[in-house]
Symmetry: C2
Subunit: 413 residues, 2 copies
């Protein structure tokens, strides 16, 4: 049967993470694996009000086909919501997508020929890697440090790599590293993209979830040539089950996204678009986001404190100032994928082994740890157990500590 399939699909394999997440979903597991928002914070009661309103006042249109671009009042709300990140646009610059994952898929479809190169952070978001792979994209990982992509390496790649078709970046509270790009790097990125005329896909699902400090301008807000495609979503600030995200791009590029959306699935859910829009008419989404942030900030603090208390000296981690994830680096002789099997079987704690976030492989001693989903108690308990396992592992394998500087670099407090 294999010969029936297209070349692009022949090498697509079930994601390892997906299998891990299935195991991690068992009720006896403390899971730091998923990138799930805390469900107890969903505005379920308000949604009851809002869905009734939508069905009572605009039921027929909410159940009917609607334009591909999306529900106009929602597009207006979104244009408005982008102002805090420095972006001044109107509804005409917005296409509603099925989460930002669909924006990633469409980016691959619109920009990549087989073999084309995506320049991405090392590590980068697995879902984007898989989306681009499905169009036979390849990857040149760009070195990163606490300020984001290292610009010297980016320029080197732009100069030397053939067929570079786009730069993919997650500048705010990156998945998986939890790190945030400095303003200087954002500006330099635009400069280089302009110089080499390459589109930038700015994936920004977490920007609103800022715990402390000042919000930096988005890369899109610094765009001077219309080369930046901004991907946003309500999955982390409202709820992911409605699958509502958006693409914001300059007209010529957005037009391609609209045409691709039409052939891909015609439009997003008419009802959910109205639900979110009416929610924003009736309630204060920013206030709701503040509530989420307070909880995530507390959980982040709890996790940082617990890691400090229970993790071995030779283990380091990032201190995210927003978002959902921290990134843990263990001694190089520990393979976190193998450790995960042990962790699930003995201490019943799940995380995501970091290897999958490096599209070209080679790094086996990292893990992505989520702090948004588990309760305060389970965060402390889970990190305690994981610390114990790491201590045992280091003891049994023989200590091989990272350079102290390496730790310094990753632990931003």
């Amino acid at each position: 049967m294999e010969q029936l399939f297209s070349d692009r699909i022949k090498d697509v394999k079930a994601s390892e993470i997906r299998e891990i997440l299935k195991l991690a979903a068992r009720h006896d597991i403390i899971s730091f694996a998923g990138g799930l928002p805390a469900p107890e914070l969903f505005p379920t009661k308000e949604m009851e009000v809002v869905t009734q309103l939508v069905l009572e006042t605009m039921g027929e249109e909410a159940l009917q086909y609607c334009p591909t671009e999306g529900y106009n009042p929602l597009r207006d709300h979104i244009a408005n919501r982008m102002k805090p990140s420095g972006i001044e646009v109107t509804r005409d610059d917005i296409l509603i997508t099925s989460g930002s994952q669909q924006g990633l898929d469409f980016s691959g479809k619109i920009f990549l020929n087989p073999g084309d190169v995506v320049l991405c952070e090392s590590p980068s978001y697995l879902g984007a890697i898989n989306a681009f792979r499905a169009y036979e994209g390849t990857f040149r990982e760009i070195e990163t440090d606490i300020q984001g992509m290292v610009m010297e390496d980016l320029e080197k790649a732009l100069k030397e790599s053939k067929n570079v078709k786009m730069i993919y970046a997650i500048p705010d509270f990156q998945n998986p590293s939890g790190r945030t790009w400095s303003l200087e790097r954002r500006k330099k990125l635009i400069e280089l993209a302009n110089k080499y005329n390459k589109p930038i896909v700015e994936d920004n699902p977490y920007g609103d979830l800022i715990f402390e400090g000042e919000r930096l301008p988005s890369i899109k807000s610094l765009d001077t040539k219309g080369l930046v495609i901004f991907l946003g979503t309500f999955s982390k600030t409202f709820c992911p089950g409605l699958r509502i995200g958006w693409v914001c791009a300059s007209p010529e590029i957005l037009n391609k996204f609209i045409m691709v959306k039409q052939s891909a699935d015609l439009q997003c859910n008419s009802m959910s678009q109205r639900e979110i829009s009416i929610f924003m008419d009736k309630y204060d989404l920013d206030k709701h986001v503040e509530k989420i942030k307070a909880v995530y900030r507390r959980r982040r603090d709890l996790m940082m404190d617990s890691m400090k208390k229970y993790f071995p000296e030779s283990v380091t981690w990032t201190h995210p100032t927003g978002g959902l994830f921290t990134w843990v680096i263990v001694p190089e002789n520990i393979d976190t994928k193998k450790l995960m099997e042990k962790s699930l079987a003995t201490i019943k704690v799940a995380y995501v082994p970091g290897a999958s976030f490096f599209p070209n492989g080679g790094v086996t001693n990292t893990m992505r740890v989520n702090f948004s989903t588990m309760s305060d108690e389970l965060i402390v308990e889970g990190i305690k157990r994981l610390g114990k396992l790491l201590h045992e592992e280091i003891k049994s394998l023989g200590h091989q500590s990272n350079e102290p500087l390496y730790r310094e670099e990753f632990t931003i407090v």
Copy 2:
């Protein structure tokens, strides 16, 4: 900017139909253009009950991420609903998709390399043509008659065309022609697909909307080698705004669809999946479909009667026994695209010029006419106006009638 884009997207143009539909949406237009279900038949009241139930009893999970495959109780319901078309499957054979349009997009992604050939009915569904084109698929149109694809021509194409990768068929109340395949042709199609080892994409959005006669077994139900991919949807039997459809395929093929779904948009709307599932627990969807059918049947009859009354002798049309569309053939010297401009401007009636349904072009004297959306009064009035315009057009261009036999072939009463 053009050089930034992928080859597959460079030739994608905004669909002409899309522009027509935008014009047709004006409130002063009698539109037979869209493929829209009648919104007054949507179960809006029941949806109010159902959404409340979902949010009250399973609010958190309905707003959270859910598995890519879909909500299991809905998959069970769907497996069940496929029995009347002769398909015996379980939830494991079903993937929930964003309408059947997404099933078409994924079919293109999974099967087509650039230049690969899709064998399709002539004419065929425009949305599928666009979906396959976005993967650089090409088309060999297979001759059709009132029984479906002409099997001699299909076998000729299978023998002679290089790189045939799939057969695409809409066997029940086809879009745009309104015609239904005979059982004999269905059986022969399976025989040929097996012989040449080619997958069949069976697009079946209208099968449930049968007005008279006995329901024929779906092509999938005759599948002996697991080569048939069945695409279904709730868009025509429930409502399209929720964007819930499905793919039913053999495990090896379905597995590819699941992986593609994951990288495309992770999953379908968690809430809408539950809404439809709970609706089916609580209410009788078949009874609801009966209600829809009664209205569409009456409108079909009204349209047929009006066409008979008002259309010129030299115009012919199909007599669909289900679905949403009839297909009208006018004298060859009338270009229905040009006529449409006149029609919108003068008589304020819209239809879809048939040319777009022929992927390789060349047929300009047809139109797709929808009978499900407009009220009884507007159907009579619109057809009356269209008849008048056609009379005038034929008079001004000079009469050039079709062969009588040609009319016979298309008017199945």
